[in-house]
């Protein structure tokens, strides 16, 4: 049924040249995201996973390689940058507009593009906020609600535009561990409801196995896809999944690879890109 959201990344490389020193950020990444699949990419800080996401989203051009979405080439070295609502991003440190209320933030996308009328979009926004449990906060400013709520509003803001792919750039990084568990459940419920294609970037292996259908492990710079594991745990999942044997088996497969990369990154002394 959901046939859209088929992403193919073909041989993408990215070289930065800031004032005389060539830096290779991504090296020949090739993989494929099937429609309706939840894919996670795990890697240490500074490995290039955010660069990959920027290229897919259209904020950055690749030096080599192409990105195809549903059989249409959306990004290549010759194309102009075209971010758009078909590939929506949820950012790491939160990108809610602080000067707009929650409702205004959510309705901004469709009303700016003119796809829905004012009443229609407000109705739909209220509906989605009700699913998120935030209907009482629709007239609050983002600074007055907790960070967990802010993340939920951002995800709602992304979903109301019906994107083909949802790109999540370490969205739960700034939350504490307990809020994270609630957010994970919320994301899983949403995924079961909508079955959109999701690309989830994180540095946490547990999070990625818990949430996704397939996990890729990325090496430190230059970023290459090192290993992938298929997460065959059936949906719907809940917190008890984290203590099953299947979960531990998957962790065993991937944890050595991740730890090796983490050590390499640490020895290189990579400074955190995120402030």
């Amino acid at each position: 049924m959901m046939k859209e959201g088929h992403v193919e990344i073909k041989d993408v490389s990215k070289i930065y040249d800031p004032l005389g020193v060539n830096v290779l950020a991504l090296e020949h990444c090739t993989f494929e995201i099937k429609p309706g699949e939840f894919m996670a990419i795990v890697g240490p800080s500074g490995c290039g996973k955010t660069t990959l996401l920027n290229i897919i989203a259209g904020f950055d051009t690749a030096t080599q390689g192409e990105i195809w979405v549903d059989g249409v080439c959306v990004a290549s070295p010759r194309n102009r940058l075209t971010p758009g609502p078909d590939r929506l991003v949820v950012f790491q440190h939160g990108a809610l507009f602080p000067w707009k209320t929650v409702l205004e933030n959510v309705t901004l996308g469709p009303s700016m593009q003119g796809t829905m009328g004012h009443k229609e979009v407000t109705e739909r926004a209220r509906e989605l906020l009700r699913v998120a449990g935030l209907e009482a906060f629709e007239n609050e400013y983002p600074m007055n609600i907790s960070s967990g709520m802010q993340r939920r509003v951002e995800i709602v803001r992304a979903l109301i535009n019906e994107p083909k792919i949802l790109l999540l750039d370490e969205p739960f990084r700034a939350l504490d561990a307990m809020t994270k568990t609630v957010m994970h459940k919320y994301l899983l419920d949403l995924f079961d409801l909508t079955h959109k294609t999701v690309l989830f970037i994180t540095h946490d292996l547990d999070e990625s196995i818990y949430l996704s259908d397939r996990v890729f492990v990325m090496t430190t710079r230059p970023g290459k896809l090192k290993k992938w594991i298929n997460v065959a745990i059936p949906r719907p999942r809940d917190i008890r999944t984290k203590v099953t044997d299947a979960y531990f088996e998957l962790r065993k497969e991937a944890i050595e690879a991740v730890h090796e990369e983490a050590l390499k990154a640490f020895e290189r002394g990579e400074r955190e890109l995120a402030r």
């Binding site: 989203a57 904020f59 971010p83 758009g84 609502p85 590939r87 929506l88 991003v89 950012f91 790491q92 440190h93 939160g94 990108a95 507009f97 602080p98 000067w99 707009k100 901004l108 996308g109 700016m112 593009q113 400013y141 600074m143 007055n144 803001r157 535009n161």
Partner: protein, 289 residues
């Protein structure tokens, strides 16, 4: 390895314990409320002490070392004839008019220019050098040039006010546009916005705190410029009246003119502050008090 764990036993709470504790906390809470009220009164009293000390110091100095300076009582007495003098009001209105005209033009040109400079690097490269070169030149130094350009003094005063208010407004708008988080630009582009929509929804509201701060600074500078221009060669305005009072040896009037200039400047800045409070309400984070 045997895992050991157990439940924690609920503590045995005596009857009336909660009421006792509650009463004690209520007492502390009420005392704290009283303390806050007392603190506020003390703050006001301290302010009054400061002002009284200032007036007393003024009085003693004007009677001992600086005998030319009029004392507070003479200054207050001089206010009475001035209030009924039409020339005083005309002068005040004239100064105010020059300030408003110059300031509004400075904002109308400066805010869009600053925002665009902060938003698009290309336009910063083009306009930046010119602004940076002209900025350190004091507005007062422009006065002879302004008189040469505009010949008649009536047009040169708003120009000086414009020069004075322009640079703080431009620089602050530029800083404001730069201060917007990059992710916000990306987020709105993701939502499918045209450049005009980006400007309306992100650039302008995001830079608004800085714009309003720049407008306050610009307003202060505008008043300084108006006085400078009027003293230099004007025929109207409060600055000119101040200088005239000095020449006519009507010294207490100087104090009154200074005070009126001060209050008008303060009123204008307060108006901008009121705007800030209204449009920057989103910045207030509610703290549990």
């Amino acid at each position: 390895m045997k895992a050991t764990s157990g439940e924690v036993r609920e503590s045995h709470v005596t009857e009336g314990f909660l009421e006792d504790v509650g009463a004690k906390y209520k007492q502390i809470y009420l005392k704290r409320r009283e303390q806050v009220k007392i603190d506020r009164v003390i703050t006001v009293i301290e302010g009054a002490i400061g002002i009284t000390a200032f007036v007393v110091m003024w009085y003693t100095l004007s009677h001992t070392i600086m005998t030319n300076v009029p004392d507070p009582i003479m200054a207050a007495k001089a206010a009475i004839p001035l209030i009924t003098d039409l020339r005083f009001y005309k002068g005040a209105a004239n100064s105010f008019y020059q300030v408003i005209v110059g300031f509004l033009v400075a904002c109308a040109i400066g805010i869009p220019l600053g925002l665009i400079m902060g938003w698009r690097r290309t336009l910063y490269d083009v306009f930046g050098p010119i602004v940076e070169i002209l900025r350190p030149v004091p507005p007062v130094a422009w006065i002879p040039l302004a008189i040469i350009i505009f010949i008649k003094l009536e047009f040169s005063t708003p120009f000086i006010v414009f020069i004075g208010a322009f640079f703080p407004v431009v620089i602050n708008s530029w800083l404001g546009a730069q201060s917007i988080d990059l992710s916000l630009y990306r987020a709105i582009l993701c939502l499918g916005a045209s450049p005009r929509q980006v400007f309306r929804h992100v650039v302008f509201p995001g830079a608004l705190p800085y714009i309003l701060a720049g407008m306050q600074i610009g307003m202060g500078v505008a008043w300084v410029c108006v006085v400078a221009a009027e003293m230099m060669g004007g025929k109207f305005g409060l600055g000119y009246l101040t200088w005239e009072s000095y020449n006519l040896i009507r010294y207490p009037e100087i104090i009154i003119c200074m005070a009126s200039l001060g209050s008008m400047g303060y009123a204008c800045s307060a108006a901008i502050r009121a705007l800030s409070n209204k449009y920057l309400a989103w910045k207030k984070v509610y703290t549990a008090r």
